[in-house]
Symmetry: C2
Subunit: 415 residues, 2 copies
């Protein structure tokens, strides 16, 4: 079966926000065997939305619409649903009750307005109660095509999708199994990988698709297929992925979703009961932010220092001023001293240090923009490397992060 | 004139990546007066791409296509262009030369393969040379509709758009002026704002659109319009925005694009020649990462410590263990001590401290998930506040960040 996602909002079409809802919905639909045929973003314009509904209806069995459900005047999704389904808005008592409960929970001591807009819903709609916001979701059908309307606020959309929409889709539609598996590799380019795996790739059957997803310093390789027989499907992809992992064993770090490179690092450090601290200069907290973004980091991650100003490398981290003087602040020597002293300061088994010039200007150093030194201190010593990652600030930081995780995973996998 | 953006790639439709290219392209097109009618994401499937081209041609004067230009087998955009334009692929010497230069620049000492796929381009295409990657862009026309193909790698796409595509669009099309202005507000909800500005909103003329863009702890209010007369257009929106800023003066921090809350903070601190350091516990580097993501942070931002483990708050920051014992690690008292000691450690005028339980588990504290204390130390003392931001890790961190910036801007605006 096929689905289409329609996201409504001028803010998307003028580039004011990035639409993250579609990716989330697509992933979740895929997980239950629903293939997304197309994602369409349209304006807050009734005529345009109706046209998108008609187009989607031609090829999709399920249309998921997000956005345009707010309490303010620019939100027109509900009225458009009425037009499309030849329906009218009526007041729904259960929505009023739900909003009263919400207000109570958040200790908002105010009465609902007399003509409370959020309680007006199309009379034919099945209401999907929103426990985290005032706008309810809706489920409506026409000519065997299901249309679902969800709020655009990601948090509310996700809860409604998980609690109300996915269970209804599973009941309502027969779906095949869809299976993707993605191998994560660090340190080799797309073309070089393609050359190395050419024989393997040529041996893939028609119904299994390979995709290359390159980004700064890493390439993801995805196999995808679908079938009604789940075990045959998984066996067919898993066995081919095993061969691929073998061919690329020096650059592959594991499968995506099952693992991220931070998961791999966490797993190894937890097994060894070892700990990590960071001293980030040029990356300015971008590494620690990725490590602490996921729950559970506190089992191995102890703490971090960001000595943005050069003097702090001496004052707090104890890097000898003479070392900075002699080799410059962006040097292997300074990076190694930062890493070793970071281990001591935080009493950790490992420490990662970065120092570099992310750009666009040289700052207080003498080194070229894009120069980055990475050092890793471990119980057995210290390793380090110097790079030039080009002259784009964002790319310098991203490449440094990917290289840090690649080097660190290699380091802790050694022993 | 109207444009459509078509992004090609199964990775988008299975939710493996978030499409950020469309937002960038939309914003840049708007800037030069091109309105984006629709954004469509389609699969790596020739039939589907052709269908999307035909549909786009019905309402757009310009169609910008990204993705599917890589050197590997899953990339089919060029062949699809040939089918759509009834054309064939030929080898282009200038592309070969460009790639040789690129290899030389990156000291890649390898010969190009005999049938070098990236040099094959539709014979009728105007080649847009990609100075940052091997896949060239293409510009083709049919029935007065321009089709542009760009690589999906954001960095390469952005350079080609800026250097090759936008200048050609400006030459080729007559465009009106489009103008958006967005007011940033912190600390009040969407409905409450709508009530306060109802009279002002009702007085807006037909051709000026107001949009509300709420997210955790902040709401953006955007006015949009277009006209052939730029000065009338800008005056008409600017004057209304000034009135709105007045009405919302207690919660508005400035206009987006002209300023972010971090820009405002940087501006004030630079003017006063004052400095900032951070002690982030529960936010784990998310605040420092936002501050250092933009160039120029080093003019006011000195450094940061992330004492993730409780002991470090005592060991490195000097928070008395007795204070943690008496009031718990997530307390106003501990947050204030962290902030005051952070100022001393980094020798800064201001320090911001966060301590809290982001969840999903309570960690080593006794406090409820979602409890967060924020303290700001300044030359004149310390302010602090305790919050509960709910039980979703991501939202707790985001709400804390927004609240930190809101409180800190208020603090430095005082004197």
């Amino acid at each position: 079966m096929l689905a289409e996602i329609i996201t409504i909002g001028d803010e998307i079409l003028i580039g004011q926000i990035i639409d993250t809802n579609s990716a989330y919905i697509s992933k979740e639909l895929n997980r239950i065997g629903v293939k997304v045929y197309q994602i369409t973003s349209v304006q807050d314009d009734q005529h345009h939305i109706l046209q998108a509904f008609e187009d989607a209806k031609k090829h999709a069995d399920l249309v998921i619409v997000t956005g345009g459900l707010g309490p303010t005047k620019d939100d027109i999704t509900k009225q458009t649903f009425c037009d499309f389904f030849n329906d009218t808005l009526i007041e729904d008592q259960s929505v009023i009750e739900n909003v009263k409960q919400l207000f109570k929970k958040h200790q908002l001591n105010k009465p609902l307005p007399a003509n409370f807009q959020q309680a007006m819903v199309p009379s034919k709609a099945t209401i999907l109660m929103n426990l985290y916001g005032t706008a309810p979701g809706m489920w409506m059908e026409r000519d065997d095509v299901v249309f679902v309307s969800l709020p655009g606020v990601p948090y509310e959309m996700k809860h409604l999708l998980q609690d109300e929409v996915l269970p209804r889709i599973i009941m309502r539609f027969n779906r095949p199994h869809i299976y993707h598996k993605t191998l994560l590799t660090y340190g080799l380019g797309e073309s070089a990988i393609a050359e190395r795996i050419a024989d393997w790739e040529n041996g893939l059957p028609e119904n299994i698709k390979l995709a290359y997803l390159p980004s700064l310093g890493k390439v993801r390789l995805r196999l995808s297929s679908s079938s009604n027989d789940e075990s045959v499907l998984m066996e067919s992809i898993d066995s081919r992925m095993e061969v691929l992992s073998e061919i690329l064993s020096d650059i592959a770090i594991g499968y995506e979703d099952e693992t991220s490179i931070i998961d791999r690092i966490a797993h190894i450090l937890n097994q060894k009961k070892q700990t990590l601290s960071l001293a980030e200069s040029c990356t300015g907290g971008a590494i620690v932010q990725q490590i602490t973004a996921e729950a559970g980091a506190s089992s191995f991650f102890i703490g971090s220092i960001i000595p943005y100003k050069t003097e702090l490398k001496t004052k707090i981290l104890g890097v000898p001023a003479s070392l900075i003087e002699e080799f410059s602040v962006v040097s292997i020597q300074v990076a190694e001293s930062m890493a070793i002293n970071c281990c001591k300061l935080f009493s950790t088994d490992y420490a990662i240090a970065t120092t570099g010039i992310a750009g666009p200007t040289k700052g207080d150093g003498v080194d070229e923009v894009g120069t980055v030194c990475i050092a890793i201190a471990s119980p057995t010593g210290v390793v380090s490397e110097k790079f030039n990652f080009g002259n784009d600030r964002y790319r310098v930081i991203e490449k440094t992060i990917n290289k840090v995780f690649e080097m660190f995973l290699k380091e802790i996998s050694k022993n």
